[in-house]
């Protein structure tokens, strides 16, 4: 079974702080993704990566950056957290362009 692990289940940060969300997958998947989930909006893609050191913007990249230095690890960075970034953040991975994404259990981030 694919395992996607997100380092924190819950995080509380202050406005203006730099925040790192970490994600690790154990199935040697090429593609990794960061989504956020908000009520009434579903899951929206922030960034994705299809190879080490490669990254592409998703639908809502503003205020975020990412890092993929190793194949198994994909980090989401909030350079200066704001209250509108309070959300559930979900990391996912997949092997190819076809097929389902495998999700982690999510990080509930609250920015106060």
């Amino acid at each position: 079974d694919v395992k996607v692990t997100q380092s924190s289940r819950y995080l509380v940060k202050r406005t203006g702080e730099k925040v790192f969300l970490e994600c690790v997958q154990d199935m040697d998947h090429e593609n990794m993704f960061w989504y956020r989930q908000d009520p009434g909006l579903g899951l929206r893609l922030i960034y994705f990566s299809y190879d080490v050191k490669m990254k592409e913007k998703g639908d809502i990249p503003e205020g975020y950056s990412v890092s993929r230095e190793k194949k198994e690890r994909f980090s989401l960075i909030l350079e200066s957290a704001s209250t509108n970034q309070t959300s559930m953040y979900l990391c996912a991975s997949s092997r190819a362009s076809w097929g389902p994404l495998h999700f982690g259990n999510g990080t509930r981030l609250t920015v106060t």
Binding site: L41, D59, W98, G106
Partner: protein
């Protein structure tokens, strides 16, 4: 611009009856469609998918129907069970050009009453 829409925020069904969840899309480049189920405090889990070359795919109690001309897909759950109570998301992909990224709908909360 919401390219994948689930217009029903919630659905309530009696145990043993059929649950029908609907999804519409606007992007004609989408050619692969999936349904995910999400329980609270867990990540979404893949349920069933369908390629645009098919109009039906079945897996146990779950069947997905695709109507390409109407840009509409639906998920049928028969019979519904209380354990099916969750948020259901439909998602779409444009396949080989997309690196597997999915566009999701807003989700429908399904409640199955015993």
């Amino acid at each position: 611009d919401q390219q994948v829409k689930q217009n029903s925020p919630s659905l309530s069904v009696q145990e043993g009856r059929i649950s029908i969840l609907n999804c519409d899309y606007t992007n004609s480049m989408f050619d692969y469609f999936l349904w995910y189920k999400k329980y609270p405090a867990e990540g979404p889990t893949f349920l069933i998918s369908i390629s645009s070359i098919k109009d039906k795919n079945e897996d146990g109690r779950f069947t997905v129907f695709l109507n390409k001309s109407a840009k509409h897909l639906s998920l049928h759950i028969v019979p519904s069970q209380p354990g099916d109570s969750a948020v259901y998301f439909c998602a779409a992909s444009s396949g080989g050009t997309s690196y597997g990224k999915l566009t999701f709908g807003q989700g429908t909360i399904l409640t199955v009453h015993p």
